[in-house]
Symmetry: C2
Subunit: 224 residues, 2 copies
DNA sequence: CTTATCAAATTGTTCAACAATCCTTACATT
DNA sequence: AATGTAAGGATTGTTGAACAATTTGATAAG
């Protein structure tokens, strides 16, 4: 995931200008720290510290902040700085409302893309393998990808982007929990959902999906 | 920037005390020009011209560009500048795919907010009045608001924002058409949709809405 | 007619300075 | 003691200039 850019460790010059802008490079680093828990929700991101650490100008850093702000990972308060977003219970409820709409519409469709179903099988296998080896963080990643592929059944590029953003937001609250307890219950459920989709049993799939989302929302809201 | 006072000759002057950032102020002006047709799709927005006209620095203007780019109203081509977005037929089709999902889910819900139904009645009345007075541009605005309220039946803040952005995008192609021919057919349809919703006839409303969206999409795609 | 090369114009990025705002601390008043 | 107010220090907001990189258009050579 790390692209060539300015100094990876310190003491390194940055002779190359990458195809992507410097701001996107900085944003990628910050995004990783936020989604992987290095920066806890509520943390303040001071411009001074980060310009020194990332060795980019203040303007570039602020552009990176802007990018992550539009992804709802960072929150920008006027004259007060930038903070890692804190999800409220209302936010979690809202996100699951949207997920029910998007994923519900996806599984209800009659024309299912065989390629997407193949992708689902692959992701499920990936999750099983990770679970067998105890890599529960990877199980979580696979779970998110599973639902991203579900959403893609809608066949809309805009829906894909909305879904990706929703799941990125959810990561903010995921890494405050135990990955095993959070994701283990959904492994068999995802597998069953896949078989229902494969069999063309739309209504059953919709009901199961709805139950999955309800349960996930309950688990997350229980942490508050 | 010599004097911050409201002494500019004409046009939009910067407020004496800006509560929001300068970048958002500039973005608001450009957004208005784009959504109201002052800037046609495909137009280039040169940095030199706009920094002189708006009297903001290049950095601030570029931040405004960034904001509108994330709203999909402007398109940023590397080393080539910023252009008013041009919607492709695929874009229109995708937007209507999302609208069918969002608005379809909205009318299918059983728990309808009485306040929202009242808002729908108000918007329909507003559209009728504008039509009677020949203000077809306002009819178009009312039509968009009608569907925004429909979407709000989902009860999700994020869905509301998604819908607002979709409709802003659609305005880009609306301006290239005759407002009367575009919006007149939907006046009675919206009224009928409202009565169906009021009567709690969800499935009928869903069918009618689906027909409305199909027709609108056909009309828009016919312009290409 | 095609291709190569150069110069002008525009955008990409960074920097340093100043202005505006917020937060803390200390002081004064009741 | 509680409340309100006034520095001041720290941080963010905005600007203008400078230079690098890229595109564009014109010109010249094959």
């Amino acid at each position: 995931m790390s692209e060539p850019g300015p100094s990876d460790a310190y003491g390194e010059t940055r002779p190359f200008r990458v195809r992507s802008s410097t701001a996107e490079w900085a944003a990628a680093i910050l995004r990783q720290r936020v989604t992987e828990g290095g920066l806890a929700p509520g943390s303040r991101l001071a411009e001074d510290e980060l310009t020194a650490e990332l060795e980019v100008s203040r303007n570039t850093l602020r552009e990176a902040f802007s990018l992550l702000g539009h992804e709802r990972l960072l929150e920008h308060r006027l004259n007060r700085g930038v903070y890692v977003r804190v999800l409220s219970p209302a936010d979690v409820a809202d996100i699951y409302r949207v997920r029910r709409m998007i994923e519900g519409a996806a599984v209800r469709r009659a024309d299912r893309d065989p390629a997407a179903l193949a992708a689902l099988r692959e992701v499920v296998a990936e999750a099983d393998k990770a679970a067998a080896e105890g890599r529960w963080s990877d199980v979580g990643t696979a779970d998110l990808r599973f639902h991203l592929v579900i959403a893609s059944l809608n066949g809309s590029e805009r829906v894909n982007m909305m879904m990706a953003q929703l799941l990125a937001e959810l990561r903010l609250v995921f890494h405050t929990m135990d990955p095993h307890a959070l994701h283990a219950p959904f492994l068999p459920l995802n597998r069953e959902l896949l078989t229902l989709l494969d069999a063309g049993r739309g209504p059953d799939a919709e009901a199961l999906l709805s139950a999955c989302l309800d349960q996930a929302e309950r688990v997350l809201l229980a942490t508050y």
